[in-house]
Symmetry: C2
Subunit: 326 residues, 2 copies
């Protein structure tokens, strides 16, 4: 197919009903406008959706007078494999990546935009399951899919934009940690990375594999942390060491991790994965000393004078995380 | 490169200053965090940017209490070619696609999020020129780049999210056209398509080629039309016939185009391109009869009872527009 090829679209066909979409076999026979109509039928509007899928742009309520916004790629072969992930898993993960970023600002997610490119032979059932997963994960965070874009590509390329509302609070940034604060985490550490290692060795049926294929970030702990006075917060997507280092750098402090607190006496998954494994989308936050933390927040370290991240007071020797270009 | 390969990121390297980025040769040597830091140095915050590039998410002022949101792909080989478009052109076009959608709702653009994937050998000067073009186009619409994401891909893949503010007005949707309304357009028709044909035949130095490589949508005519009481509006991205058909379908009316008014007696670019050429990102809107239109809005047709789009009262025989999957 050549670039910019002119192709036939009968003007009378722009509103293919989604029942017709079901008759279509794949993305190619469904077509761009068929896909848009199918998405609009498959995806319910949310309480804050003022204008949803199908116009030039969506309109979302932003009662706070500010909007929190983030965008994340999910690219086949880099962030997921279609032979490992079911379509619904891909939908969950695509949504989770952006929704966790919204939570890490202390905000409630309200809307998602989904840019979806794929090959013409992508089956319609795959698309429908993908969209179900996307909508289910959005709903778990209190958000609705409000719009998107479609195009053709050799691989499935997803770019998901998350929008959220701060409900009157200040956003929790990376730069507010102060010496004396405690570092706490909500959600698992190293599970997704352990699951990836299992997948690579051929294991499919394991809860850690499920944690890799379908991470379940504790979204509501983000606004909870903001309400408790969190001084800094981040989504643990690249690995605990790497992400806590972002807080340390932005705040101009040193953060010391305590491995006894991290493993809580256990050893599964192993400490290296807990320190460096990404993709759990748990939340790490610093809180003023003496903050009473609810059970889901586990203290794992402290903020002290200095720079960087240390483990039990010493420099960590090894790989700290993930860089997409290296 | 294998999927999910664990790679070394020293935690001390997460804040590479952008001067260091200039020393890097390409995206691979710059690295993910180097790119983020470079973007944050290259891209100025806007008046509505409350939290910009570098945290988990951006925070944008939304004084209206609603936010208009849209996302659009720009994929190398489908939407642009690096041997035809300068990097700055790609930046302008990537921004324009989303910004025109915001304008077509009657809104003022306020923020852009840019998801950028590319090959490791993408040169840093290309990136810098791309970002300059992106920022210049955003600024022309009154918006700032507030965040984004980066990843690796074999081709340059861009997904741009535009955010905007309605300034207290109702959004102008596709479904409000009524019989008796006039159809008017602001901006050129067929120029980008004519430019594409010239490029394909080897011509480089022509204003129509510039219109293809760097469309310049008349953003402020969107809010202007909303203020004048426009009943429906759309961004002309797929071609006039195809996009006006969206208004006709959503509104349950017929729209009749008048070719004398469209060509205004002239013949350049030819009528077929004016009716079917995409990518100009002009705005088409319907207005109640008797609306006094400012000079940039040219009446080219009328809304009547019926369904679909006609040209001089008759069905149009031929290709109407563009579908990415056909």
């Amino acid at each position: 197919v050549t670039t910019h090829a002119t192709v036939v679209v009968q003007t009378g066909c722009v509103n293919v009903p989604w029942e017709a979409a079901i008759g279509a076999e794949n993305l190619g026979s469904l077509g761009e406008f068929g896909l848009i109509d199918a998405l609009s039928a498959w995806l319910p509007a949310g309480p804050r959706t003022l204008v949803g899928i199908g116009d030039d742009a969506a309109v979302l309520a932003a009662p706070d007078g500010r909007v929190v916004a983030t965008t994340d790629f999910l690219i086949e072969g880099r962030h997921f494999r279609r032979d490992w992930s079911a379509a619904a898993d891909v939908g969950h993960k695509a949504a989770a990546r952006s929704l966790a970023d919204i939570a890490a600002m202390g905000a409630h997610a309200s809307g998602l935009l989904i840019a979806l490119a794929g090959p013409p032979d992508l089956p319609v059932p795959w698309l429908k399951e993908f969209v179900s997963g996307l909508a289910a994960e959005a709903s778990r965070a209190g958000a609705a899919v409000i719009g998107g874009d479609t195009s053709r590509a050799d691989l499935v390329v997803l770019a998901v934009t998350g929008l959220g509302d701060l409900a009157g609070r200040a956003p929790v940034l990376r730069g507010g940690a102060r010496p004396g604060d405690v570092l706490a985490v909500a959600g698992p550490l190293g599970h997704a990375a352990a699951g990836l290692a299992l997948l690579a060795s051929g294991v499919r049926d394991d809860p850690l594999v499920a944690a890799q294929l379908r991470p379940a970030p504790p979204y509501d702990t983000g606004p909870e942390a903001a309400g408790l006075g969190a001084t800094a917060m981040i989504d643990v997507s690249d690995g605990l060491l790497a992400d806590v280092a972002h807080i340390a750098t932005a705040s101009g402090v040193r953060i010391d991790l305590n491995t006894d607190l991290i493993t809580n006496g256990g050893s599964t998954p192993e400490l290296t994965l807990m320190l460096t494994g990404g993709e759990d989308h748990s939340l790490a936050a610093t809180f003023p000393p003496g903050t009473e933390l609810p059970p889901r927040w586990r203290v794992i370290g402290e903020v002290v004078d200095g720079r960087g991240v240390t483990v039990n007071g010493a420099a960590y020797e090894g790989q700290a995380g993930w860089d997409h270009f290296r």
